[in-house]
């Protein structure tokens, strides 16, 4: 047998690349089903109040219309009585909208009707004929106006140890009495995920009690659980298929009203129903990064030691769910400040619920913390990198535990060299290039190296190929590719011989793809499934050849057509003989984390260095160079990992310079309704982004040593850019995005 090349770490091309470049990859609105009907949602035009009537007559009479469903005529959804009491979603108090269950309007564009027709054009046309009357009530959509009503999240009230509870070490608000201190308020406006694929679902009742959903979701099992519960069905009767997901960045971590609508519609018309949201509806119905106000105070000694930090924040939630995120987490553990206070509050507004958006709260919090670090360094006349080094901590100051691994200093070095940090001048506005002012800035990011339990199966087929399955999803990072590499190395066979299937709720269980946890969790399951498969093959072969029975567990070698032993290549059992009886050999295993998480503080770290050019007269900001360095443990695939880092950095550019979903508070309605008004970075906005990994394994997280990449790719980018803008102009912008009007 040929020695196999090591796949882990190699820049392997994606296993699904061919499908993606030929248009053959199928997303949730692309399944051809017999009798498929089309659904279009009608949204409320008021922001708060009650529906007093809906006139659907004209819509019902329009050509091709199969049904117009509203709360007046919707079938009863059996699970609504118990919905919203889900202990597996601790961050959520209250519950999601029960669609078409009552006359209450909780936010603008809340779905009030779904029109189903035999073609998309007919459904869309008929949806415009639905007329509604309302009894309006006064609404609140502005967080700044509602800060006085901000409250402690219920999870923190119930559990003082909750990460959402007030935190204190040392003296409270000690920065106020510090000799050298800064204080500032920061605002991150509402930002919307806007994956390129519009949220879509195709719902098909294959029998009155059997439901199949082709859905855009980050968790096939979470979606199955939610809709099985909504319809009072055993989970086994609901199938969720998400083979390809066209991006999500968090917005498919929750079940939304449009999914309920498609399922209800399919029930009523008794045909499969497809529903794709419009780009406007992506603003209102599928979550967003919440508008967040923050205040951060910091004090330090003249030689650059932080003595105290107080970081407070008020984030937006809806009136019917309590959405929380870890906005203040990084502040508690990043720097060795003896006195530290955090206070997290929520304000409930008449807008649909937020949902975690890439780098979630940490990215929001890091904007304040890392901007303040820059501001303090400036006040102390210190290099910001040097200031961070003086406050570096080798143990977790929040939990008083060792880090599992921390190579942030190595990241600093890698990044500073690549951006040319030595070119940076302490005095803002020192470097110019014609009409452009040039500046350099840095920002640090961190995110928990989370790991959950996961299952995976592995099956050897008589032709020597291996099929692996797991219910996990791939919203873009290249999960199937990374898992194939792990399996190839563990089995000692070429990756081409392995097929890794995912995105189906019938496959072995795994958690939702979110919180940078997929490779940490599913990777070990794949590894262990492969080891278990090898052992099973050894056992099977042992019945035919005693050399196998006495061989060591991992001695078996998978050849092209036969099993042999590494220590004894003469011992051979052809797969055809080995699998004669069973047809194939399969195993399913579960991999669970141990208690390392209680002994160590486990985090991924990143640092981002930005070079910006600010036009002296127009205030236009161009990011001319970005360097992102990560301590993310073992890198499974250098190519896809670097791509993920670059993507996160592009997201950070959007956050720093352009993304802002604006509501006209008089009407409670978004005025940014499409991608012409809500700007996201395009090709011309994205510079060359250099990526470097420390690539040191963290074996406390799992046997592969991975820590996760997705979030740290974004966390810290926005402050790096804001700090570079300060270095270029001397202007400190604390309210994102940094648009030209804030600089001229």
């Amino acid at each position: 047998m040929k020695a196999q090349q090591k796949q882990i770490g190699a820049p392997m091309n994606r296993v699904d690349g061919h499908l993606k470049v030929t248009g053959a990859a199928k997303y949730s609105a692309e399944y051809e089903l017999p009798g498929l009907a089309y659904a279009v949602l009608v949204g409320s035009t008021i922001t708060k109040g009650r529906l007093t009537s809906i006139d659907a007559k004209a819509a019902e009479r329009a050509p091709g219309v199969l049904a117009v469903i509203t709360h007046y005529n919707s079938p009863k959804v059996p699970g609504y009585d118990t919905a919203g009491k889900d202990p597996s979603q601790p961050a959520t108090v209250g519950g999601p909208i029960k669609l078409f269950n009552d006359d209450k309007i909780r936010f603008n564009d809340q779905p009030i009707a779904v029109v189903v027709a035999d073609t998309l054009e007919r459904a869309r046309y008929a949806a415009r004929l639905v007329k509604a009357q309302y009894a309006k009530e006064a609404h609140q959509t502005n967080l700044e106006d509602n800060k006085p009503q901000a409250f402690l999240p219920t999870s923190a009230k119930k559990n003082p140890k909750s990460p959402m509870a007030d935190y204190q070490r040392g003296q409270a608000d000690a920065y106020k009495t510090g000799a050298i201190k800064i204080e500032g308020e920061y605002v991150i406006p509402t930002e919307v995920h806007h994956p390129m694929e519009l949220q879509s679902i195709t719902a098909h009742w294959e029998a009155p009690d059997r439901l199949t959903l082709y859905d855009k979701t980050q968790g096939t099992l979470a979606t199955r659980r939610d809709f099985a519960k909504e319809w009072g069905l055993p989970e086994a009767n609901v199938k969720v298929i998400a083979t390809f997901v066209g991006g999500a960045f968090g917005n498919a971590l929750h079940s939304w009203p449009h999914e309920s609508a498609a399922i209800i519609a399919a029930k009523v018309v008794n045909r499969p129903v497809k529903l794709m949201l419009t780009r406007e509806q992506m603003f209102t119905m599928v979550g967003y990064r919440p508008y967040t106000w923050q205040k951060l105070g910091m004090s330090a000694t003249p030689d650059g030691k932080i003595t105290a930090i107080t970081h407070e924040s008020i984030g937006q939630t809806s009136t019917y769910e309590e959405f929380t995120e870890s906005t203040l987490a990084q502040t508690r553990m990043m720097y060795a400040s003896p006195n530290l206070t955090t206070r997290y509050r929520l304000a409930a507004l008449d807008i649909g619920s937020p949902i975690w958006m890439r780098g979630p709260g940490e990215a929001t919090g890091a904007f304040a913390l890392e901007s303040a670090m820059d501001e303090m360094a400036h006040l102390l006349n210190l290099d910001p990198l040097e200031f961070r080094l003086r406050n570096y901590t080798d143990t977790d100051p929040e939990k008083n535990r060792p880090w599992s691994t921390k190579f942030l200093k190595e990241c600093y070095k890698l990044g500073a060299d690549r951006i040319g940090w030595n070119k940076r001048k302490l005095k803002p506005g020192s470097i110019r290039d014609g009409e452009w002012l040039v500046g350099y800035g840095m920002g640090v990011g961190t995110f928990g190296a989370h790991r959950g339990g996961a299952h995976a199966s592995a099956q050897l087929r008589p032709d020597g190929t291996v099929l692996m399955q797991c219910a996990t999803t791939d919203i873009g990072p290249g999960t199937g590719t990374a898992m194939t590499q792990i399996a190839a190395d563990t089995l000692g066979i070429a990756p081409e011989k392995i097929t890794f299937e995912l995105g189906h709720s019938d496959y072995p269980q795994a958690g939702t793809q979110g919180g940078s946890s997929t490779v940490n969790s599913v990777g070990p399951a794949v590894q262990q499934a492969c080891l278990a498969l090898k052992d099973k093959l050894r056992e099977l072969a042992g019945a035919q050849n005693p050399a196998f029975a006495s061989a060591k567990k991992d001695d078996v070698a998978l050849g092209d057509k036969h099993l042999s032993l590494s220590s004894n290549t003469a011992a051979r059992v052809p797969y055809a003989d080995l699998l004669k009886q069973a047809g194939a050999a399969s195993v399913t295993v579960e991999a669970k984390p141990g208690n390392e998480g209680q002994q160590y503080s486990m985090y991924s770290f990143s640092v981002h260095f930005a070079e910006v050019r600010v036009h002296e007269l127009t205030g236009e900001v161009r990011v001319s160079k970005l360097v992102s360095c990560a301590d993310a443990g073992t890198i499974i695939n250098e190519k896809t990992a670097a791509n993920q880092m670059k993507g996160g950095a592009v997201g950070g550019i959007g956050m720093a310079l352009m993304e802002h979903a604006r509501i006209d508070d008089r009407f409670g309605r978004y005025v940014t309704k499409d991608l012409a008004d809500y700007h996201v970075p395009v090709h011309a906005d994205a510079p060359n982004i250099e990526v470097a990994f420390v690539n040191q394994p963290d074996l406390k997280v799992n046997a592969l040593g991975t820590k996760g990449i997705g979030e740290i790719a974004t966390i810290g980018v926005a402050p790096a850019i804001a700090n570079a803008v300060f270095n270029a102009t001397g202007k400190r912008v604390r309210e994102l995005p940094i648009t030209p009007d804030k600089l001229v």
Binding site: K20, T22, S44, T45, E121, M196, E197, G246, G247, G647
Partner: protein, 208 residues
């Protein structure tokens, strides 16, 4: 789509009445009596619908199609929903994202922004028509090699646009590529890899 309580919709019964009259009148003039009877038997909408369709000949990826489509059907929806060529993606439906980019007589076009009936007699190439059998187009190869995507949803549009960008002579430098590709949004942010793929194809000198 919002329900506007204040506005009288211009698309209510008047359209229906108009259809009823026009379709029935046309039907009476042109078609045999069973249709007229059908119309009289309140099946007028179905008849009207048939008359609302316009004949259309298209060549898509080399295959000729003789179709009847509603004038309001966009080229994008025709491709995706009727011809089941779902490689062309819908990312906005307003000409703002480029996910729906196809070639019409060799030019890149946002298929969501044009009605299918505007393309009578024209040749459409979609992502499904770019490869020669199993042999990928050099731009497709380059996207795989440079990892010019993550989720893959913007990818067909990026590739169709990239091929046109090179053909148009707008791939002369990194800056020029970024400018001429800016109509194609990649929310996953694979931009630098996409630019690398385009430069590779351009510098490789293969025929695109």
């Amino acid at each position: 789509m919002n329900a506007e309580p204040e506005l009288e919709s211009p698309h209510d019964d008047s359209r229906r009445t108009f259809l009823k009259q026009s379709s029935v009148l046309t039907a009476m003039a042109l078609v045999p009596s069973p249709v007229v009877t059908a119309a009289a038997a309140e099946l007028d909408e179905k008849v009207a619908a048939a008359f609302e369709k316009v004949p259309l000949s298209l060549k898509v990826n080399g295959t000729k199609h003789k179709l009847k489509v509603e004038p309001r059907t966009t080229l994008l929806d025709l491709l995706r929903e009727q011809l089941h060529l779902t490689g062309t993606k819908k990312g906005c439906d307003y000409g703002q994202c480029g996910a729906c980019t196809v070639h019409v007589d060799g030019q890149r076009v946002n298929s969501c922004l044009s009605f299918a009936v505007m393309h009578d007699g024209q040749e459409i190439t979609t992502i499904e028509g770019l490869a020669k059998g199993d042999e990928l187009h050099p731009m497709q190869e380059a996207f795989v090699k440079h990892d010019g995507f993550q989720c893959g949803y913007c990818t067909p549009g990026q590739i169709m646009s990239a091929v046109a960008c090179v053909r148009e002579g707008h791939a002369g430098s990194e800056g020029e590529i970024r400018e001429y590709m800016s109509g194609n949004i990649c929310r996953c942010g694979a931009y630098s890899n996409i630019v690398a793929a385009i430069q590779d194809v351009k510098q490789g000198g293969q025929k695109v």
